[in-house]
Amino acid sequence: MKPVAAVKPWDVANIPGPVMAMPLDPKIAVAMIKRARRPLLIVGSRITEIELNGKKLVDYVVQLGKKGIHVIATAHVVGELMKHGCKPDAWMPLANIIDRLRDKDWVGVDGKGPYDLLIFMGIHYYFESQMLSTIKNFSPQTKTISLDREFQPNANFSFPNPNEKLWKEHLENIMTMLGK
């Protein structure tokens, strides 16, 4: 097993304990998404606020949605997503979806069974961190990755605090590697 360089959480004081995320790179992200039976993309209010050199985060969400990944819109972003041509599979508060995901008997928004991979994007750092902690501790069989820029210690995998340019490159690479 290759040694992995330790990454400090974005908020350096946000050290939850011995179980922390591994650094994510686009190849890992794509492999996990392709391997997943039922991936779910959970997007938050920052998808309409963040713009990476002319491309909004919401545009990546739309792209991922087109690749067949189920999308849950949290906060109030459902309308914005629809304006961008992506009708989410459901919309509900972040707390609601996490509450359902920790329930091993929950069958998903389409009734077809539990999700095995959760992808987080565009959620406030600390709120995302807390909700990832719920999944880590109470639904440990579910894998999680964060596509946000900030290193999320409670995910399984998270980008290691890249600068914005590199973050955009990572997202573009993921979109390219996932193909059409």
Binding site: G17, V19, N137
Partner: protein, 804 residues
Amino acid sequence: MSRRTKFKIDELKTDSMHIKNLEVDIGRIATEEDWEPLGPTPTPGILDLRNWDMKLLSRYKPLYAPICDLCCLCTYGKCDLSRGRRGACGIDIATQQARMVLIACCIGASAHIAHARHMVHHLIEEYGPDHRLDMGKEINVEAPLIRTVYGIKPETLRDLEDVLNWCEEQVVHCVSSAHTGQEADSLDYESKALHVSMADQVGMEVADIAQIAAFNFPKGDPGAPLVETGLGTVDKDKPIVLCIGHNVSSGVEAVDYLEESGLMGQVQMCGLCCTAHDLSRYEKARHARVKVVGPLSQQLKFVRSGMADVILVDEQCVRLDVLSEAKAKMTPVIATSDKICMGLPDRTMDPADQIVEDLYNGAPGVIISDVRKAGEVAIKTAVKIAPKRSKLKGQLLSTEELLNHAKRCTGCQQCMRVCPNNLPIEEAMQSAAKAASEPKKSAKAKAKAEEDPLQKLAELYELCVGCGKCEDACERKIPIHSMITKAAEKLIAEEKHKLRAGRGPILDTEIREVGAPIVFGEIPGIIAIVGCPNYKGSYKEVGRIAEEFLKRRYIVVASGCEAMDIARYRTEEGESLYEKYSGKFEAGGLVNVGSCVSNAWITGAAVKIASIFARRNIRANFEEIADYITNRVGACGISWGAMSQKAASIATGTNRWGIPVIVGPQGSKYRRMYLGRKDCKDDWYVYDARTGQKAYVGPAFEHLMYAAESVEECIVMAAKLCIRANDTTKGRMIKLTHYIDLHKRYFGTMPDDIHLFVRTMADVPITMKDEVLSFLKSKDWKENELPNPDATLIKRLIRVSKEG
């Protein structure tokens, strides 16, 4: 209530005895008049209301979000509890989270109850234990929480002492359960958190009743005067005494000394946090033109500005670096509470003039626990030291210094990473640094350049929560917080707003007027905006929330720091909300009850509806009253910037009464929410108290304690959380109209759960009939079998059991 009974017999002769000069002092005997039948749970202990808690917790299950996966409370540890592991004592991570929540609630409750004890103790010394509690002519139900929980009608300060004894006992029992090897179940920890937080609410009520009675604060006056608030309101040409904290006794004494010494009008009294609220409730302080500087988020800015000539601190939410920050500006600090000693010498027994002399000559601070003396010393010192300090007032940085600091920024982003809101500090720094590096321009010219180089720094001012962590994280020790303040100095100078002074309780007469429309749902809800200023965005968010519901004629109630931040908000037309809306507890009224401890009046209003409108017996009858509120009183608390342990206990205590609370995203760090599952139909049944039949009432209300991610989400959810099982059809129609309208406005779509709230066709909002009916059809909706039950969660309240 209880009474001390004392009698003297000068001489008594009978056949068998002869008594002379006999004095009997019995101590305390119960003399409670028979004002209502005694309910089932007087002076409740932990177990007495546990069944009620379990009812709530079976519907609103705790969702835990550990902020730390470890337990480090005993020497077996640290123990890693992540992913199903247990600690050396056997604890699991859910139980550990519940335990930490309980500890937080105990800390919060202790702060309020100790404050109440301090206040009552001081007032008994001043006025004696038999001082009567006068709450004015329009209030008969003077202490709704004490009556319902403890079971008495308090009449004197001594009665309040009895209540506090009970509160303190609950805290001790609850905190003891957090010891290693005590409670083993997370739900039982939650029950204890609910219990101690209920005691917290009672303690808050004690504190506010005591200070209203003793200091003659407004007794529910809807026309309580408007007072000035904002950093720009403080008169820096006068000697300035700044009060910080939550216990107004020392501030009141300072004002009294101003009057006694003929200095009224010559010294600027001002305050930060709740002690400022309470000072502005004191009539003499208003005559002295006291200023409410602002909420906790303004503390570091104001202390560091050097404006204050003396800082008088009491208790709670005082920055722990206040002494070192004040010292840098030669501002002496007077500590008045045993909770905050700061390592200072206790000079309580020294002559006032000697202490003044020492502070004038450079002593950084003193403890004076005698609040009267503290007030005198504060005023005398401010007057004496002000001329010496005049050049230090308002001096932060020059523009040139600011630009030079900006040039030192390496762009490492450590400041952003520790910022609670990840504010774009680096970008603002780079913008300022770029201007500073431009050649052939003076610093002044740079500052006035077309693109103001300080604009981006200034923009951070309204978003900054004032914690100062950015400076601590900076490897180059750049004074980022001061730079933001400097960049925003024009904005700060214009910070002049109007705040309605805290009015305290809700009048019985007001409850008579609004009780029916609230319970029937015609007033769509009571929105209480309370708590701390740790917002995810600008402080303006709380103003926005308030305005949205005021326009819709909800009753909006406010307290604490968020009440102050509502005052800082302006409508699009430039109006302030306290000037635009009435201070009456009515549809479209904006009611500032006052400081943190005044929160008790908000829950108290819900209890009064049960008592005055519904004529329920409230005496020692917690469970029935909480059940009434749960099913009938459409109220929702919002603590958008909840930060402290006190906020945790206030929210949890409010929850036990059956009132939901929304916190901002930072509130997720409290580790626990109470969430309902609207997709689980079995969770939403009640008993029909008329027949005992079980009835589905839908998710009314959906969550008990919940963190929202955005202000838009918060507004929509708050409207939804005002829906109650017992709404009349007209009331439900009105509430649904607001919910759907807000959802469409902020989310851009129809809600996807309307079918869960429409019980019969009569509930369908008339103005949205076609689209709602179309939606209902798509969900295969059918009318509820029993659409209007007399809803209760308590089996014993069924009047005629179906089983006979």
